[in-house]
Each structure stands twice: as C-alpha cells, then as structure tokens.
Symmetry: C2
Subunit: 341 residues, 2 copies
DNA sequence: CTGAAAGCGCTTACAG
DNA sequence: CTGAAAGCGCTTACAG
C-alpha cells in the first residue's frame, strides 16, 4: 500500500546484519505493551483507543516494522500461505491457472506457494510430506491424485480444494468444468461446419469425459467416430499425435484436441507434413489459454472460466468452506481460424 | 524417501480434528527428552547412542511424525523455503526457469515459493514486503528491479541471487547469459545464410545488450541494420511486432527476436499476413525453451543453459555464498527450420 | 481500554 | 551420551 520500510532509518555501519525489528521494538517505542501492537495490527480481539492506536501506527511506520509471518503462523496454527500443486508449469493451462490463483490469493492478502508435482513421476509421492510440514492455510491441487495420495491428503488437517477435476472426489471439494459438454460443443461446431470424419487427440484412454463428449457428439450426428490418438499431455505427445494423424488414411478432415498444449505441437506436426489448417484438417482445442490466440493459425477452442474457478478455489480456502462437493463450470466456444469457422 | 506417514495409526472417530503429532509425542513414546529427538532428526549438534537413536526413529515411524517447519523456521531464524520472483508464469522462459529451479531446490531438500511480480505493474511494489515477512532461506529474483526495489531487497537479511540479468548489479550476486554474444551469434547465423537486411524485435530500447549484439553483428558484416521493433515482452507485443514487420517495405528477409514468447506471436502475425517462414522471413529467437521446438516452423534459437544457471542460483542460496559478483553463462545456437539453416 | 503471561513446536547452549 | 530450560516472535484468554 504505502511505502512500508521506506522510512527505515539507515544504520551507521550498514554492513552489520542488523537485527530485525520485532513487535517488542514497536511496543517499546510506542510506549505500550506488545499485546496492544497485536490488537492494532490485527484489529482483534480488542478495541484500542484511537490515540494509542496512532502511537503504535507511528512506531510501525518509523521502524519499518514487518510482522514475522513465521511466528504468526506458529502461534495461530496456520499461515497466510496457500499451497498450489500443479503438475507442470510449462503447460500453458497450468501457467494461466497459477496466475489466476495468484491474483485471487493476493486480493485476499494471501501468498501462493507453487509446488510442481511433475517430479513425482520420477519417484517421490508429490512430496505431500512437504505439504503437511509447511503450515499452509490451505491447499489447491490441480492434478489427479492416486488413491494413496488422496488418502494422505485427506489426512491433512487443512482445507483442500481439488481443481481441474473431471468428477467429484470422495471427501474433497472439487472444482471442474463440464468436460463432456465442452468437448461436445467443440465437436458439434466441427460437425456444423460440415465435417464428417473427426478425430480425437487426448490422453488417458477410458477415463476422460472429453473423449466421451467427442464420441457422443459424433454419434448423435449419425456419424462414425474418427480415429482416437492417446498420447501424453506433454508437447512431445501432441507432436506424435499430429504425425499419427497425418499418416492416417481414413479421410479425417477435422480433429478435436483435448488440450491446448497438445494442440500446439499437433499443429506443428501437421504443418510439417504439409497439411493446411483448417483447409486439410480443421482443429478445435480445449482450455482457453491466452496462448491459443497467438498460434498460427489461431486456435479455435472451448474455454474454461479460469478466473472464476480460481476465485472460487481461493474463496473456499479462505472461508474454510472446502467441504465435500463438486462444482462444475460451463465452458464457452471461442471460434478462431483453426476451425475454419 | 520411505513412506512417511503411511503407518500412522487410524484414529477411531476419524472426524475428530486430531491434534498433530509433535516432537513431544515422539519423545514420550521413545522415552527420551525432546532434545534428543532433535539431535537424531537433525544429526546435530550432538551424537546420539545407536540404541537411543533407533528408539526415536521407531517412534517417528510409528506416529507418522512430521516436523513442523514453521516452528523450526522460527527457532532457526530461517526456513528451507526459497522464494522465486518471476514476472509472468505464462512466459515459457520463466515457466522453464521455475521448473529447473524447483528441481534444483528439491535436490537440496528445499521448497520453492513462486511469487509473480507481474502484479506490481498494477501498483504494488512486488510485495517485497511479503518477501521479507516470510522467513525465507533465500530469494532468487528473475526480474529487473527498479532502484527503489533494489534498495529494499538489499536491506533484506537473506541471501539474494538475481538471475536472468543483463549486467552485474551493485550489491548483488547476479547470474545471466551473455546476451550480447548470444544475439551476435544468432544474427551472424542469419548473415552466414546470406541475409543482408535483418530486423530486430525486442523490448526496452536502449538497455538490452541483445539489441547491441544484433547491431554489432550486422555492422561487423558491413551491413546496415534493418528496422528495430520495440514492443512489450507479452504475446501481444510479439504479435504487433510481427504485423509491423509485415508492413515494413524495406526489404527485410530475416529477423532476430529477443525472446521466444515474442517470437511465437510474431510467427503467427507474419503467417497471418501470408509470409512464409523462413522463405520470406527467416527467424532466429532467443531463450531455448522446450516450446521453441514445437512451433511451426520450429524456431531456430540461441539457448540459455537453464539447468546450470538454476543449479548455480540454488547453490548460492543454500551455501550462503551470494556475495556480489556476476556470472555470465555462454549460449549455444540451436538451428531449426525457422532460419532455413 | 491495557498488560502480564502462557503457549505455538521447534533448536541449542549449557550443565550434568 | 542425555536433559532441563531458555528463546525464536507472534496471539490471545484472562485479569485488571
């Protein structure tokens, strides 16, 4: 807000590792007890006389006092730090989600600590242990948990919100989008444009509602589903799927891609093989990141309301209302050049 | 490592917000003082008899004890959390840097807390205040600081490493790449391919050595510098620069782009205007993220040794050797399709 | 409205 | 090799 710390008096030698200003220093300067400093700074649990209050505030300003959040957290049993678990920060979707959650958290005076769970594929169990060791106010997990991981997370005594989820998760507050509906909308868009053989590119065969949405939309239109390519969500996965689609000889003229990260690389593979987008293959992706608009051709996509979802997740933590339930957000179709729409 | 917490005995009612297991519980069960538990767990400052040690370890295992890092941090005066300040997580460069730093930190048993400073453009002073309030072990800043911000950060009593820096920073340990040399190499590559009029796309006119590297390489070859387009580093900036380059009528046949995020969008703008890459305009970018390889056409680029830089930054924090100096890492040219090389 | 004091869960100098 | 005790910097029930 105002330049806290700006007026910190410069200390002679400058190099001496000056002791941090503590609440006691403030109390001494203001001529009150340290309890009163807390009352003023927290506005709780007691009212403070206006004059006293002002003395404290002046002392805080003069000393450039910064409350030690660690001590506060230890005393309170919780910090003002929210943990966010994402699998891979390089995925534009998670990057954008992290940014929105950071914004929402900041608006609530909270700080976000991002933990990358990518590493767990290399052995560790998402360092959940680490999560429980930090005195976090709450945890937002944008990842799929194994049964064992769910169990461990459930045993944590802090509010937990799962985001980017397909379904309700037993025992958790879950937030997701209507993956089935979004996919259906995307594919319906392609069908409306006249496509009759539409491929699917995504991950995890068998559990992703986006694949069902694709299949349903196709069948509801009386068509045969085109080929489905199941690849990892990393860029390389999308690239391989694009190459496979290029090699497909079944007359595919359009594809629905379950994530923009995969779509980015698939776009590259298809163009490398000489396919024109959308002329030879029309594409609609899924997620709605900023990046989609700046690819060539710009990606048509079904977009998640990330801001609203992030606000919701943070609110559930801050208000401690992360009880078991599932909130599904609607998606919206964004038509750009890649679908030829 | 091993399944800590796995053997935590299930508590009857399950719903009771069971009190966390503390060091005292462990001490009681092991029949030792709580000090000894610390000695065992930290291996310091005292040796412990093997038998005693085993009793403690057994108790820890049985109770599923997780040390409270907040209490530890308060007692020690520092945590095992390293703060990382980046401007925008959506920028592939920062995403990749964050991932590498996270990996390096994890290897040292540290956790990374990512802070987005993007918000500061909206008013706040990068919540440096927030930084000093958390009891961080150290701070890695991948951003350019204003004079006032530098002053504030300098006053923090924790090790600070600036990364992704153009130059040495008074009073700080700084890590960067040879921006001038990298740019020079990129442009030299284009010159070697026969280009005679080469444009520059980047940000911040006047202070970026990449622009000087471009200009020098061009002049050293006896050529006239092509037009320079200065735009923000966000995607929209790159897009606008691409459009401007497309409108340029001065016979440009190649461009050096100072970041891959800008290059991604510039590629889109140029192709939107019907330019073939590299046929009409050849492009070399700067950064070396994974993403560059999966764009169409794949981006030729000069790459930063991100892993090494991240390891270095983390090491400087962990070993508390972040004294004033500047380390410059060499870059390497990665030739892909966009330069036609 | 204000303050003395206990407590959060660790670490470590000091004494045995 | 082991333990009693003080201390890190806050918060807050309790007493005045």
């Amino acid at each position: 807000m105002s330049g806290a710390g700006m007026s910190e008096p410069s200390v002679g030698g400058a190099e001496a590792p000056r002791r941090r200003v503590t609440r006691d220093d403030v109390a001494r300067l203001a001529g009150v007890s340290s309890a009163v400093v807390s009352y003023v700074l927290n506005g709780t649990p007691k009212p403070v006389a206006a004059a006293t209050r002002q003395k404290v505030l002046d002392a805080v300003e003069l000393l450039g006092y910064q409350p030690n959040q660690t001590a506060r957290a230890l005393s309170l049993g919780r910090s003002n730090v929210i943990g966010l678990v994402i699998s891979d920060p390089r995925n534009p979707y998670f990057a954008e989600l992290a940014l929105e959650i950071d914004n929402a958290a900041r608006a609530e005076g909270r700080t976000v600590m991002v933990l990358n769970s990518l590493a767990r594929r290399g052995g560790g169990s998402m360092h959940i242990a680490g999560l429980s060791q930090q005195q976090l106010e709450g945890i937002i997990i944008a990842d799929t948990l194994s049964e064992a991981e769910s169990e461990t997370v459930r045993s944590l005594s802090v509010p937990v919100v799962l985001i980017n989820q397909f379904f309700a998760n037993k025992g958790f507050a879950s937030i997701g989008v209507d993956h089935f509906g979004g996919a259906y909308m995307a594919v319906r868009h392609l069908i409306d444009l006249g496509h009759r053989r539409i491929a699917f590119i995504g991950g995890n065969p068998g559990i992703d509602p986006r694949e069902e949405g694709w299949a349903s939309a196709v069948r509801d239109a009386g068509l045969e589903p085109g080929p489905a390519f199941h690849v990892p969500f990393e860029l390389e996965g999308g690239y391989q799927a694009g190459l496979a689609l290029a090699d497909d000889a079944s007359g595919v003229t359009a594809a629905f891609v379950a994530s923009e990260q995969q779509a980015l690389a698939a776009l590259s593979a298809l163009q490398e093989r000489g396919f024109a987008i959308p002329g030879d293959i029309a594409i609609v992706a899924f997620d709605g990141t900023t990046c989609a608009a700046y690819l060539w051709p710009p990606l048509s996509t079904v977009a998640q309301p990330l801001r609203a979802m992030a606000d919701d997740a943070v609110r559930r933590i801050v208000t401690n209302t992360a009880h078991e339930d599932y909130t599904s957000y609607p998606m919206s179709l964004v038509v750009r050049a890649s679908s030829g729409g």
